[in-house]
Symmetry: C2
């Protein structure tokens, strides 16, 4: 079976690696170069998008910022999973918030802002502090502002207005203002839904971000009630979208309550731990869902930590001495802050994982892997046997 992925980055690459054993051949459409490529070898095929879509058995996506005309070609083929509505909801903060409301899942109060008077109206309606996010093309901390006090409002609006004027989009840009949530931690749920409406979800993952970019994800046995709460929200959102494939929900946890922060209509960085820690990895489960194969078990095999490698193309090979420690490079050229790879490490229980996480963190330079050592120490303090 031939599967064409919109986007030719690391997610398509890892889909291809997961698909090969199932005889699922994954090729990718590179939106930037307008070429069809092998996302592992980078071989370029003499095919245009229309022909590639025609030849594919299934078309899917690795990211939500696919140009609408490209999505239209995919959607028209009748074999695009997840569908364009889902992709658009992930790529436009306005549609995302409306979806969350329509699905009846808890999320932060919000207003949509397109001009200065709406900006001040949002402040009045929602109160301060506020988080302001660009509706389009906002990801990994870009296009976001925080407004804490009324005195800063004018300066913040000046920044936002400049951003909106400078942004080049074929679609109308806007800002979504949201109530600032004082969360206890950030967690995410990655799951898969098939065309029959069956769903499976992985254990909730605890995420640590640095400057808005994911740094560490930790998958441990999750409290049953919290897992159930997340699963219900996953099912509600996925059903609303008639979703097929892997979908990720990012939450703020406040006490025992979860609020959806955002959704990602694709395999997700916070699910990379599943390559070593789950019965079936998220890449295989995404392919199974879109290819009409049975969904795979999402059971946690072992507690697992994932650490992102950002802007670096080398780590001390000694990390491979740590049992169960796996390096996943994306074969990309080095750029500051770029997601270059990740490291998974597992333990038979949380205590063993804590030992290994500390050993790993000790090999990662603290000026390149910001806050990783701190997260490891906190984790060890909570779980290490004394």
């Amino acid at each position: 079976m031939n599967i064409l992925v919109m986007g030719a980055g690391q997610l398509a690459r890892m889909m291809a690696l997961a698909g090969a054993p199932l005889n699922l051949k994954v090729t990718a459409y590179d939106v930037n170069s307008d070429k069809i490529v092998d996302p592992v070898s980078n071989q370029v095929f003499a095919l245009d998008l229309a022909n590639a879509v025609a030849q594919a058995d299934v078309v899917t996506s690795e990211f939500e910022h696919i140009p609408y005309p490209v999505q239209e070609v995919c959607q028209q083929s009748g074999k695009f999973f997840p569908n364009s509505t889902a992709i658009k909801a992930g790529g436009d903060r306005r549609q995302e918030k409306q979806l969350l409301d329509a699905a009846g899942v808890a999320n932060a109060g919000y207003r949509i802002i397109t001009n200065e008077s709406e900006f001040y109206a949002a402040i009045s309606a929602l109160g301060l502090p506020l988080v302001l996010k660009s509706a389009l093309a906002g990801y990994d901390g870009k296009g976001q502002w925080r407004l804490k006090t009324a005195e800063d409002a004018a300066a913040t609006w000046t920044d936002i207005a400049a951003f909106m004027a400078g942004a080049e989009h074929t679609l109308p840009q806007a800002i979504v203002a949201e109530q600032f949530i004082r969360f206890d931690r950030e967690v995410s749920l990655v799951g898969a839904r098939n065309a029959k409406g069956e769903t499976v979800v992985y254990p909730l993952t605890e995420n640590h971000h640095v400057n808005g970019v994911l740094s560490v994800s930790m998958a441990l046995p999750a409290p049953e009630d919290l897992q159930q709460q997340a699963k219900q929200m996953f099912d509600a959102v996925a059903a609303k979208l008639d979703y097929v494939g892997v979908l990720a929900l990012e939450f703020f946890q406040v006490g025992d309550q979860l609020l959806v922060n955002e959704i990602a209509p694709r395999v997700h960085n916070s699910g990379h731990w599943t390559q070593q820690g789950a019965d079936t990895c998220q890449f295989e489960n995404h392919l199974r869902a879109v290819a009409g194969l049975p969904l795979g078990s999402t059971a946690l095999v072992r507690p697992t930590v994932m650490v992102n490698i950002l802007g670096e193309d080398h780590v001390d090979a000694a990390v491979l001495n740590i049992p169960s420690c796996h390096l996943h490079w994306y074969g990309k050229s080095k750029r500051p802050g770029r997601k270059m790879g990740h490291i998974n490490v597992c333990g038979q229980d949380n205590a063993q994982l804590a030992d290994r996480f500390l050993a790993l963190a000790a090999l990662l330079p603290t000026d390149k892997f910001l806050e990783v050592a701190d997260v490891a120490k906190v984790f060890a303090a909570r779980h290490q046997q004394s």
Copy 2:
């Protein structure tokens, strides 16, 4: 790092899939077509062997029947791991038996036969029954005979003489006559040795052959003394060959004693379970060894069974409903008896594995998967909770 594999079959393919996350780019030399290929996509590169060897950082092998002139090119490069002596020992039963004796590891008594008088001398020296194996190109049960009684000797010799006359080899063919071992079971040990002489081995695997071809491998926690015995033999053989890479030893177990039956200087079918059941799979560990990276932990994560798919290009997709069950297709065209893929299934303990193995066997047609259901039933009788 670029790694060139001699041989472009499923073992090179699975090396490529395991190497990509480590940024190890695996290409393969197809001995039959004399072409350099991507063993996953089958893309053909415009390179001849000499240039491919020159461009590679490391040259390795997926099989032992590499023509000697090709081995010579590899060996001359100074970057061929394992070395040609090891490959030849795996490809020539004479050298293999001499190696086992030189390493001081227990193996069945034998004589080398090139003519009729040596044949009868072997019968006198070793007694009956005898197993007779072609020295070259014998694998998966081909080129083997059993002689049980003196009355059958003349007929067996006629067969062997015809085989030797018919075989086309650039090297002198011979037959190795071996004492028939009444073994209790067949087990194998897969391990890796690096250039520093460090070794790691996986748990002993119990193997079931049908018509001389591996059908089922089972990796369970192994008895410590037996594991130690196998490890010592592995170390002795690997050290004798100054071996670098993954090496497999196949044993006959007689009571508490192991006799080496044969060695395979490569990743091995009885190690495929490591893809789901071990901390580091054999393909990754082979690449780590030849690339000079740290050897990975060989710890058993979960008891695991592997079932070979022989001569079939389809299995009931319902096998993917069994938790932890993974399909590994090799992307090959169908031929009777051909190794087309394998299935791995794991359990948290032997009892859970027994349940899943039975569920898997129930989905595999008994006329295509010979004896698999029987092996599953015996396993379940031993391990299933009542």
